[in-house]
């Protein structure tokens, strides 16, 4: 997805470029935080002990490898979350716009 496509998808095409950039930075933050929330679910105490050892060794590459090894396909996993977040934001944005225009209650949804 290109930046332009993403802007269209999120419904922020009328937003000035500076604000668009801030919103996209925020989006990256939202996605990254959700990814990490999901990652944290997968890590057992034993995993965290090992990770902390690697962190003590300041081995960033090993930390990354270790976490990814807990997933069959980490990149796919993270990309799926990103897609879900974007889709959720886009759908709810549309619902709110519609509610604003028609004076009705928005049909928003929340994926947990």
């Amino acid at each position: 997805m290109t930046t332009e496509e993403l802007i269209q998808k999120l419904g922020i095409d009328k937003v000035d470029p500076e604000t668009q950039k801030l919103l996209l930075d925020n989006l990256a933050n939202v996605v990254a935080t959700r990814v990490m929330a999901k990652v944290s679910e997968r890590l057992s105490d034993e995993d965290l002990d090992q990770l902390n050892t690697l962190i003590d060794q300041n081995d960033e590459g090993a930390v990354e490898w270790f976490v990814k090894s807990k997933f069959e396909n980490y990149d796919e996993f993270a990309a799926k979350i990103e897609e879900e977040v974007i889709e959720e934001l886009a759908e709810n944005k549309r619902a709110l716009e519609k509610a604003y225009e028609n004076g009705e209650s928005p049909a928003t949804s929340l994926n947990l």
Binding site: E18, L24, A28, V30, A32, V35
Partner: protein
């Protein structure tokens, strides 16, 4: 079928171990403390004969009997009960196939079987107890059938079946023992084995449950020998998560050693152990026990307040004659629903972690489901008011335009009159009107500037609306994930370092959005950092949604042009008319702070008058029943000059310092920092190019500092409650 011990209320005779392997297994069981020493098992494929606990059923035995369909009569209880052919299915234990049980009494009553017959322990007539004993009965019954089949087969081949017969006898003894105890009939009535009478289960449950659990645990050496549960409860009481986790680990390891116990039963056991631990706690925190209930209640209370009365952002403001503030209904409701949503998020995060705990049980799962449902409800309620807030903001802008237009006309008219008088005086004019004319011209200039600003707002309204909506949605989404992470860090110290590592290594690809990076605009992940609050960035990128931006804009203009007190009245007039039913402001700055925090930026207001680039994050709330409202950043000169803030830990980054000092996750407590009422101001480097780091702190009476020591000292002072 034989029923050779039908009246027995005592534990069945001991069965002697026959193999070394079994000795080892028993040793392990005793070490765990789950098996009274008077009870020994027979083979690895047998269930325990312990009348109290259910923890020693052999997994292999269960698996084996599960594979056998029950086709025979099973005697249930002495004399009054006689088993018949299978008529009911018991499905109370995972992975076990149904046990066929029926009673003569029930048959005589011609009641169709809808529920399983369930046996209950004599000490425990709760559903839990009934499941336990029923599982033993089912497993035992199946084992008997398996052995009978096997013996018949072996005999047919002329093999020695003496050991098998001995094994069979043990199982039959066990079955008969179980059948001689209380049980539930298919209508959920409890049959008292001593009287043969049935009574409603609910009549027996409540009073018996606590006592029966106590008695059950009195028989567990685990609780007596090394007091693990007491230590665990003590650790929980003292909020010593590390010790609590270590003890949980130890208990789990012991349970894990129970090779003869299947996973379902282990889970059942740790659930019971967890409940027992909670019973031993001296200070069971209410929020721990009723996180979701409380969340729900608080959310309802908050919303009720929001719907019924104005938000008291700062009592001093409300109580001051000079700060009489009212706000439009919809933005106020949004602010309060936002607080309710935050509370629901907090409850959800807590419940989620509880449900994921090693010792979580059904209650935790139910509470988690409930918390999730509450969160979805509060999310929808919060979202529902946002379009209304936008309409109020639109109306405020329309009102502002109307007032602006009227004021320009009025000033024009006054100027025209003054100029006419001046011109009429001709050469006799003495200059007495010049001052008034100059004042009016200055006011006209201000009004025209405001007109341009309002026109500009209209031009960018569509974009502002888009940004406003997405910023709200993103903020909520982020807050939920963040709350889960924060709660995980709080409940598991092991997580702290990992999350800290990710935070300090923004380039780590783990936390980077892959697609977004590919799109080329995300230079560095901003994981776990507060979102940029668009409402208060620069000139206000949300373009005046809510009165906040207008208030801010006018405030800035006043400072820039150094307008007089008489002009301040004019500004107040703008504000009052911009929201006719809303604002009565006697001080634009404080009013801007209050309205801004309600209308545009929720709980965050980053030193409004100073115009710092703000950040926005989830507010934190106490576990009390009263909602916390983020105070407006109003300075209190009389108190700020005496702040005793000294530098501390100058080599530690603020986030780490807060965590090390048990002040919590700085990200989630940021609102408290920036909304502090001590007049302390922090300046961050922002997130648009920066890392969201705090770069300096200004302490009233001391000055501005950029060193970590002063920054940490100020953090300690604020989050430590002024100490």
């Amino acid at each position: 079928m034989e029923n050779n011990n039908s009246n027995n209320q005592e534990p069945i005779p001991q069965i002697v171990n026959e193999t070394n392997q079994e000795d080892q297994r028993l040793q392990s069981t005793e070490e765990l403390g789950l098996v009274p020493s008077s009870i020994q098992d027979n083979t690895a494929s047998e269930v325990e004969h312990n009348p109290v606990d259910d923890f020693n059923m052999d997994a292999e035995a269960i698996k084996q009997v599960n594979e056998t369909e029950v086709q025979e009569e099973i005697p249930l209880a002495p004399e009054t009960v006689e088993t018949t052919a299978p008529s009911q299915q018991v499905d109370t234990f995972p992975d076990t196939k149904p046990v066929a049980v029926s009673t003569e009494m029930e048959m005589n009553q011609s009641v169709e079987a809808e529920k399983p017959n369930q046996l209950v322990t004599e000490n425990n007539s709760t559903g839990e107890g009934s499941i336990i004993v029923n599982d033993l009965l089912g497993a035992t019954t199946r084992q008997i059938e398996r052995l009978e089949d096997k013996i018949a087969t072996e005999k047919g081949w002329g093999e020695d079946v003496s050991k098998l017969e001995e094994e069979l006898k043990g199982h039959r003894d066990m079955r008969d023992y179980l059948l001689g105890r209380d049980y539930l009939d298919k209508r959920d009535n409890v049959r008292d084995a001593s009287t043969g009478q049935f009574k409603a289960r609910e009549d027996t449950n409540n009073s018996d449950e606590a006592d029966s659990n106590d008695q059950a645990y009195e028989n567990l050496p685990l609780l007596k020998e090394d007091g693990l549960l007491d230590k665990w409860a003590d650790a929980e009481d003292h909020n010593d998560k590390t010790a609590a986790l270590d003890i949980q680990d130890e208990i789990f390891k012991r349970i894990e050693k129970e090779n003869g116990m299947d996973e379902a039963r282990k889970l059942q056991l740790i659930d019971i152990v967890d409940k027992e631990m909670n019973k031993r706690r001296r200070n069971v925190p209410e929020q721990l026990e009723t996180a979701t209930d409380e969340s729900s209640q608080n959310a309802e209370e908050i919303e009720k307040q929001g719907n019924d009365q104005p938000v008291n952002e700062n009592p001093e403001v409300e109580n001051s004659d000079e700060q009489e503030i009212q706000v439009p209904e919809a933005p106020e409701m949004e602010a309060n629903r936002r607080l309710a949503l935050d509370k629901a998020i907090e409850g959800y995060a807590k419940a989620k972690l509880h449900a994921e705990r090693l010792f979580s049980g059904k209650k935790d799962k139910i509470e988690f489901d409930s918390a999730a449902a509450i969160l979805k409800t509060k999310f929808n309620e919060y979202m529902a008011v946002i379009p209304e807030t936008m309409r109020v903001a639109d109306q405020a802008l329309a009102n502002a335009r109307e007032a602006n237009s009227a004021e320009i006309s009025e000033i024009d008219q006054q100027l025209s009159e003054l100029n006419n008088r001046k011109n009429s005086a001709g050469e006799q004019y003495d200059g007495s009107l010049d001052s008034q004319i100059n004042d009016l011209q200055a006011k006209l200039e201000l009004a025209n500037d405001t007109k341009k600003g309002i026109d500009n707002e209209y031009e960018q309204r569509e974009g502002a609306r888009q940004a406003y909506l997405q910023s709200r949605l993103m903020e909520t989404s982020k807050n939920i994930s963040q709350a889960v992470i924060d709660e995980r860090i709080r409940s598991n110290p092991r997580m702290t370092k990992f999350m800290g590592f990710l935070r300090s290594h923004p380039k780590t690809r783990l936390a980077v959005s892959i697609g977004l990076t590919a799109a080329g605009f995300v230079g560095a992940s901003t994981f776990d950092a507060p979102l940029v609050a668009l409402a208060t960035v620069g000139k206000g990128l949300l373009r005046g949604y809510g009165s906040y931006d207008l208030v801010q804009q006018l405030g800035e203009r006043k400072a820039a042009k150094n307008v007089s007190q008489s002009e301040l009245k004019t500004i107040d007039d703008y504000l009052a008319s911009s929201s006719k039913e809303a604002a009565t402001l006697r001080n634009y700055k404080r009013g801007g702070a209050v309205i801004g925090s309600i209308l545009a930026v929720g709980p965050i207001a980053w030193s409004l008058a100073e115009g710092h680039a703000p950040t926005l994050n989830r507010p934190t709330h106490s576990s009390g029943t009263h909602p916390e409202h983020a105070p407006a950043p109003i300075e209190h000169p009389s108190t700020t000059s005496t702040l005793d803030i000294r530098p501390v830990d100058g080599n530690t980054l603020p986030w780490d310092y807060a965590m090390n000092s048990h002040l919590g996750n700085l990200s989630s407590r940021l609102p408290e920092l920036i909304n502090n009422h001590y007049g302390i101001h922090f300046v961050g480097n922002g997130l648009s190019g920066g890392q969201g780091a705090i770069e300096s702190v200004t302490i009233p009476g001391q000055g501005t500092f950029t060193d970590l020591g002063h920054i940490n000292g100020a953090i300690q002072f604020i989050l430590g409650g002024g100490k």
